[in-house]
């Protein structure tokens, strides 16, 4: 038996540790380990995330005259239309704020959300050529659209800043609520996008239904009216919409200098803490064979 042991001893080089990373490709399991493992390899792709996001922004403005000004134009044009309709034809309560700044401060987060979800949800199918030819963590595609939308929001904020100065709205410490609100915004947009991407890979109905979904969502969010205009009895159901708390929080932090309605932000927080991990697990599970579907 001693001989057998001798024979089975490892060859000389096996004692040295192989420093190369081991990649295992196997059918995906429904386990949280899938989420951990997927997150663990993401840092390797930060350069891709950066390059692709920069690419989104660059491509959008290549061969266009106005360039980055388009990021401002879209919410600004909507604001002008709404200002004409809702301050002359139909009067809506604005809690005493001038309608242009009232609308614009809500259009900023809404436009970012709608642009992010609209393009991120169909991003995998739109990049089918890439998805079927190269491996990379596919969640990077929706993330880059969300990052680009947040970038556009930052550009468009300059107009809001000008309005704040023009209407002499006091600048307060409540503005510090803006970064956490934007993180929630990005988190909700990512959750929705990952879920819709997953469905879209199988059912192209998502692409067709997207404009309708975003329009309904727009009117279900406090963009053209204040959250306080919603009857109190309906408020708790209304604020199940995670965008309700986010848009209202953004507007009240800028215009009123007050702490956002934390109860209304609760649903957004729940989406990000519970919905996002579940959506990510589902996404990664389908992502394993995404190339066969798109």
């Amino acid at each position: 038996m001693a001989e057998a042991v001798e024979f089975s001893s490892a060859p000389a080089h096996a004692g040295r540790k192989d420093t190369r990373a081991l990649t295992v490709i196997a059918p995906p399991a429904w386990s949280w380990q899938l989420v951990w493992r997927s997150l663990a390899i993401l840092p390797r792709y930060t350069d891709l995330l950066y390059t692709l996001t920069a690419h989104r922004i660059k491509v959008r403005y290549k061969q266009s005259l106005l360039g980055p000004a388009w990021a401002i134009c879209q919410p600004l044009a909507m604001m002008v239309v709404f200002a004409v309709v809702f301050s002359t034809v139909i009067r809506v309560p604005t809690s005493g704020h001038p309608f242009p700044v009232f609308a614009y401060s809500a259009l900023l987060p809404w436009t970012a959300f709608a642009a992010a979800v609209g393009s991120a949800s169909t991003s995998l199918v739109a990049h089918a050529g890439l998805v079927t030819r190269v491996y990379f963590p596919r969640e990077i595609l929706p993330v880059t659209y969300i990052a680009a939308a947040i970038f556009d929001l930052a550009v468009a904020s300059t107009v809001l800043l000008a309005m704040v100065v023009y209407y002499q709205i006091p600048v307060t410490a409540a503005l510090l609520w803006i970064p956490p609100i934007l993180i929630l915004l990005a988190g909700v947009a990512l959750t929705v996008s990952l879920a819709l991407c997953t469905i879209h890979a199988r059912y192209r109905d998502v692409g067709v239904a997207m404009p309708l979904l975003l329009q309904v969502w727009f009117f279900a969010s406090p963009v053209l009216y204040p959250l306080t205009a919603v009857p109190a009895a309906w408020r708790s159901i209304y604020t199940l919409n995670p965008m309700a708390g986010i848009i209202d929080g953004f507007r009240s932090a800028v215009l009123e200098g007050r702490t956002p309605d934390l109860a209304a932000l609760g649903s957004a927080l729940a989406v990000v803490t519970v919905g996002l991990p579940v959506a990510y697990l589902w996404f990664k599970h389908v992502d394993a064979t995404m190339a066969d579907l798109v």
Binding site: T23, K58, V134, D292
Partner: protein
Amino acid sequence: MIDVRCHQVSKQYAPRAAGLGGPEAFWALRDLSFDVVRGEALGVIGPNGAGKSTLLKLLAGITTPTAGRIEIRGRLSALIEVGSGFHPELSGRENVYLSGAILGMRRREIAAKFDEIVAFAGVAPFIDMPVKWYSSGMYVRLGFSIAAHLDPDILLIDEVLAVGDAVFQEQCLARIRALRRSGTTAILISHDLAAIELLCDRVMLLEGGRAVDCGAPDAVVRTYRQRLGARREPEMPGTKATRPTPIELTGLELLGRNDGPGATRRTGDPLDLSVSYRSAEGSVDQVVEVFFYSGDGRVLHCQLTTAFSAEPLAVLPGNGTVEFSIEELPLQPGDYAVVASTRDAASQQIGSWLKGVPLTVRPGRMVRGHFYLPHAWRHQGDRQELQ
């Protein structure tokens, strides 16, 4: 050390989604197991639909197997379709960074190799132009150049050599050889059996999603050719004898080490052939010739003949043989059919001909071009004091 390990890998393509209908599910790969050790080059061959591309997609991580497990040690780079990550609006420079990032390179790494990548692709003057203005050749060259400068531990190659012009293909081959010399493990998928034989240490034959043979390149390639029935009966050109012929050919033999009726030689090997005949009368107006046709009989590559000698072939009544000897076989790797015929020197009329004997030429003296030209060379140099 094993760099790639496939353990009972199966892949099923299922209908796209419930409620949408679509094609039946089918298995593209069934229970495939193999190992590739560090520094080894494995070739994968097989007919269309055998599962070659599916295997490559699984190894590249583009999709996952339905069952089984693949382990890959080290950085794997796949040359599947070059330039697939390009965006037409962006400049060549921006696309190098974008494409490199998609392939898993760091910005710093790309910056360090940028000049080398651009020089290899030969697009330096156009690097700041949008790639939509590039010619398709420039597009492909830049795409390959990025992928080839990844410094992978394991290289996957799928028919990339089928694109681009001859100069570019040569560059690609040189780059692949250089990577192989530096110890890169490689898996090649190709229909180009000669390239597979030349570059690979081991070849696996896939059929219907299963490995039917795996081993030494020449043996597996031969098995594949036999299974394909590649040695079809050549369609012989020329006319049959229209009048009584003074001599009748009775046999054509490739002399030396043969397998079965055919023979295998390398480019540059010597080759001796003998043509036997039976003649009813003596004559001096007959020419014996040997033709090398492509395996399917469509292309005539070259010819041996007794026509150009000072003395004409003097045929005596009875049996005889004419022997031809080739010092260095000029044929490039491939399948050939060797045909013998007699011709009347004056009328050019073909008298008797023999059906083809198969000849397989394997890579030997590797040269580019239509044929290997046996040649000599001399060198002259003057010793000069430098400085």
